[in-house]
């Protein structure tokens, strides 16, 4: 069996038994990338792949030197971190993100290639990358989802054992659903954002993308926890998510929000999710319909708050200190030329939207109002969680769409995040796990949401489902190129 196809926990077992070495895994991944990635383009190749001759001694660590793929917006010291944007081409951060430091401390090998993404995480298809789109490993004509499409595609196609993505409105869960892998967006504040190049600071979270729920729990245990460098991070009680996975879900109370099974949802998706709910019922979960009445406002609220914060966060890319700088006659002209050439279409669209929403005279009508509605959406969840432990929904209304299908219609594209956005607005954790396939063989994702810092519940439910189904074992059959 090829090592690259195994899960992280499988590999740890083999490494513990000294059946294999960390080097073997690296070589197996390298081979896989060489044979597949020219077709999938999960990785960004703005730098040469220099794998070390000699690996460090990882024998006493948790992760034993298993490589991990990192999204291009998470700072890795000495490796390019470019957010798949021309404006950051060649940027090598002088520091590691906190999650990278934690992973290194736990014995992870940080894979030098970063994974592809929509520029600055602006998108749902990984088509908005300055390095070109990533292809869905199940069918290369389809998008892998986004913005963490590179990470999801790399894991799905066995070009990575596991990966980190970031999720602002669904950017981990939607690509995980589209590629048939597991993706978790933690509670806002559970994982440090230090070193994550910000898209929307009040919504962004880093999370794992893995082949199964156990790997997800392990990675989350490593990256979670309070970081003194991130004032919005908190220390929850107990960050070991692996130990409680096996506990049964008998009596767990599950809410099925009616607003998530509306018109426009793909019938096959609906069917798969309803079937999944049946599985959970059989396992002893108590399911009932609930209501999240403000769901319809999630997308508009999100596109005001997220773009407003993005317009501010992206102000620093001005050609002065790092990244692209265009020559011009004066400083203002330099700013304009650099930003004009450096940012792609979608980035410009969002910067303009956000700038408008924060402008004098519009702030109250847009940003302020959006923050108020955001609070209503949050309250919806608080109300439902009074009587529920978890909420189950589809991750996305449809399975993956074709490359080019929605890129010209931003509104249509934005609506593909309709089921994932609310979790970010409310700050609650949410996971996507595979729960079916369409007729075209494209994966379908099941989303589970839970209370703040109740990742334990959410993972336990996901694990129980996974143990009783085999959707997570479906792997793309790719012809070698």
């Amino acid at each position: 069996m090829d090592l690259n196809t195994l899960t992280g926990l499988n590999l740890i077992e083999k490494l513990n038994k000294k059946e294999i070495s960390a080097r073997d895994i690296l070589e197996s991944l390298e081979k896989s990338i060489q044979s597949k990635d020219s077709k999938i383009k999960a990785y960004v190749r703005s730098q040469a792949l220099h794998l070390p001759e000699q690996l460090a001694d990882y024998s006493k660590t948790t992760l034993k030197g298993i490589p991990i793929a990192i999204k291009d917006n998470i700072c890795t010291e000495g490796f390019n971190t470019e957010c798949c944007s021309k404006i950051l081409v060649g940027f090598r951060p002088p520091y590691d993100a906190t999650v990278i430091r934690k992973l290194k401390d736990a014995g992870a090998f940080i894979f030098p290639y970063k994974t592809n993404m929509d520029e600055f995480a602006f998108g749902s298809s990984t088509e908005n990358s300055c390095f070109g789109p990533t292809h869905n490993p199940r069918n290369p004509e389809y998008v892998p989802g986004g913005s963490s499409g590179g990470s999801a595609a790399a894991v799905s196609s066995d070009q990575a054992i596991w990966a980190l993505g970031s999720d602002t409105g669904g950017s981990i869960r939607q690509p995980a659903a589209f590629c048939g892998v597991v993706g978790l967006k933690p509670t806002y504040g559970l994982v440090s954002r230090y070193g994550l190049i910000a898209f929307a600071s009040s919504l962004d979270q880093i999370g794992p993308i893995t082949k199964d729920v156990s790997d997800c729990a392990l990675l989350l245990s490593i990256i979670a926890g309070r970081d003194n460098l991130d004032s919005t991070s908190v220390n929850p009680e107990g960050c070991d998510y692996s130990t409680s996975l096996e506990k049964n879900i008998e009596g767990m109370r599950i809410g099925i929000p009616k607003e998530y099974f509306i018109e426009g949802i793909d019938l096959k998706v609906k069917k798969a999710v309803l079937e999944a709910i049946e599985v959970l019922k059989k396992l002893g979960a108590k399911c009932r319909e609930v209501s999240l009445p403000h769901t319809e406002y999630a997308v508009p609220v999100y596109y005001i708050i997220a773009t407003a914060e993005a317009s501010s966060n992206l102000a620093r890319f001005d050609g002065v200190q790092y990244g692209l700088r265009e020559k011009a006659r004066d400083i203002i002209a330099m700013y304009k030329k650099t930003r004009d050439l450096g940012f792609g279409q979608e980035a410009k669209r969002r910067i303009l939207l956000g700038t408008f929403a924060l402008s004098h005279g519009y702030y109250d009508a847009y940003y302020l109002k959006a923050t108020r509605v955001r609070n209503l959406i949050y309250q919806d969840f608080v109300n439902v969680f009074k009587d529920c432990d978890c909420i189950v929904t589809p991750t996305s209304p449809t399975a993956a769409f074709k490359i080019g299908e929605k890129i010209e219609d931003p509104l249509k594209m934005y609506l593909s995040d309709i089921f994932t956005i609310s979790a970010n607005l409310a700050g609650i954790p949410a996971i996507s796990i595979p729960c079916g396939c369409t007729a075209q063989g494209l994966p379908i994702g099941l989303q589970i949401l839970s209370k703040h810092f109740a990742e334990g519940d959410l993972l336990r439910l996901a694990y129980a489902y996974e143990q009783n189904t085999s959707w997570h074992k479906v792997r793309p059959k790719l012809e070698p190129s």
Partner: protein
């Protein structure tokens, strides 16, 4: 001016003297090599996040309390956006609608009656870097970027350049007392902008205001305001309109020049800083900080008057600078007697002259309080040396660090008070100046002074003049 009155509001920016910057751990030390005190956070590198410096926050509360403000139960930070190369993130972390404290006041004294200047708000923000223009290029030093700044905004309660000056002097004084900043305008640790308009006296309505920037000294503020008042009156008198605009003080030309008009005013697009949480300030915390506030200048001067019997004038001079006040208090304590007036006189007189000559504060003159006290005893009480000699000894003390008695002994400066020794010299003077002696005896008082002078000359200034006078009077009666 008679018909018009000025309406002035000041916006002071004070560098807080914390060891590290407002939102990262970089040093704030002044005068270091360019860009030697920077990190990803204060450089605004992608992915970096701010973490609030607790001490800066505490200092901000302290200043708010000292200015009689209400400290808010909760406060938040906001982003203020504008593009400038010395602003690494192209936004400044500042505070918009929930400053740390607001609604305070500061009473200033120009005449006998205090004038109350209301403080609108006190908020915390980060400073920007510094641009250095060299030939055809510009360089940026980010050492200053991220240094905690306190913005203190008054209501438009100031009516003249003199009041503005007094307000700033008092503000500086208070902040120095709190030991949170050195308030050195030359180093840029205190900066000040002003809003100014004029109106006909008695008019309630406010005129069109201009904003003045780039005033780099207290005098600059005063001069710029005076200039601007004249300029605005000139415009109104000649029937022109005042345009709302930002103007820069040109310290070489001594005039204000237009920088931008209202139409070009920036939209800062304030919104809550999502990288920092809401900060709650507990009442106990406020009470604790209140207790830490040392005696402020006004209280100190009142106490000096009460405890040391100083006049209001003397007390005000001595408390105008905290280190001087501390030094003065040590000197009072070292003085062996209830009446501290001689010490106050020496501090405000000779010690101040000595300090001024060396261009330092009196607290920086190299004289321990015990030494000063000894000197004053030797001059005023024991009259071992004359007042004049005393001043010379004081300078010697400042220069060498030696005690007065040591210098007097070494230089043999002690006054001759021994009557037998003086009699001999006086005898000679009487013999040599018969004309003056006759004049004196004929009732010309001036002649006595002349004779005393002659004795002093003969003794090389060491004769005790009082004794000489006594003996002369007795002999010539």
């Amino acid at each position: 001016m008679a018909k018009y009155e000025a309406v002035i509001g000041l916006e002071a920016h004070v560098h807080l003297e914390t060891k590290t910057k407002a939102f990262c751990g970089c040093s704030t030390e002044f005068g270091q090599l360019p860009n030697s005190q920077v990190c990803p956070v204060c450089l605004g590198f992608p992915g970096s996040l701010p973490v609030l410096n607790e001490l800066a926050f505490k200092y901000a509360i302290k200043v708010g309390l000292a200015l009689n403000c209400t400290v808010q139960g909760s406060t938040k930070f906001d982003r203020k956006h504008y593009y400038y190369p010395d602003l690494p993130k192209n936004y400044q972390i500042s505070q918009y609608d929930r400053p740390i404290s607001k609604d305070g006041f500061l009473d200033i004294y120009l005449g006998q009656e205090p004038k109350r200047i209301r403080i609108k708000r006190v908020h915390l923000e980060e400073d920007a870097g510094k641009l250095i223009h060299q030939d055809d290029r510009s360089l940026i030093d980010f050492n200053r970027a991220g240094i905690p700044l306190l913005e203190i905004v008054t209501e438009p309660d100031i009516s003249s350049p003199e009041e503005a000056y007094e307000y700033l002097a008092d503000l500086k004084n208070i902040i120095e007392y709190l030991d949170v900043s050195d308030c050195d305008m030359e180093k840029g640790s205190l900066r000040c902008d002003a809003n100014i308009s004029i109106r006909l006296e008695g008019n309630k309505e406010l005129g069109v205001k201009t904003e003045l920037k780039n005033m780099n000294s207290f005098k600059g503020v005063k001069d710029a305001l005076a200039y601007e008042i004249e300029r605005q009156i000139g415009l109104v008198e000649s029937g022109d309109k005042i345009v709302q605009q930002t103007r820069l003080w040109d310290v070489k030309e001594l005039k204000t020049i237009s920088m931008r008009t209202k139409e070009e005013a920036k939209d800062y697009r304030y919104f809550p800083e999502p990288d920092l949480p809401l900060f709650m300030i507990e009442q106990e915390e406020i009470a604790k900080i209140k207790k830490e506030i040392a005696e402020l200048p006004k209280e100190k001067s009142r106490r000096f008057m009460k405890e040391y019997g100083l006049s209001e004038y003397d007390a005000r001079i001595l408390v105008a600078n905290k280190s001087n006040a501390d030094y003065a208090e040590k000197c009072f304590k070292a003085w062996p007697g209830g009446d501290k007036k001689p010490v106050a006189n020496w501090l405000i007189g000779p010690v101040t002259s000595t300090a001024n000559a060396a261009k330092v504060e009196i607290s920086q003159v190299n004289i321990p309080p015990a030494h000063l006290s000894e000197l004053i005893v030797l001059v005023e009480r024991e009259q071992v040396i004359s007042h004049l000699t005393g001043k010379a000894v004081l300078e010697e003390m400042a220069a060498t660090g030696a005690s007065a008695s040591f210098i007097i002994r070494k230089k043999n400066l002690a006054q001759i008070s021994d009557e037998a020794a003086l009699e001999k010299e006086i005898e000679a003077v009487i013999r040599e100046n018969t004309k003056s002696v006759e004049d004196f005896q004929a009732g010309k008082g001036n002649s006595l002074m002349f004779l005393i002078g002659q004795v002093m000359k003969k003794t090389k200034g060491k004769a005790n003049p009082k004794k000489v006078q006594e003996i002369l009077k007795r002999r010539l009666r």
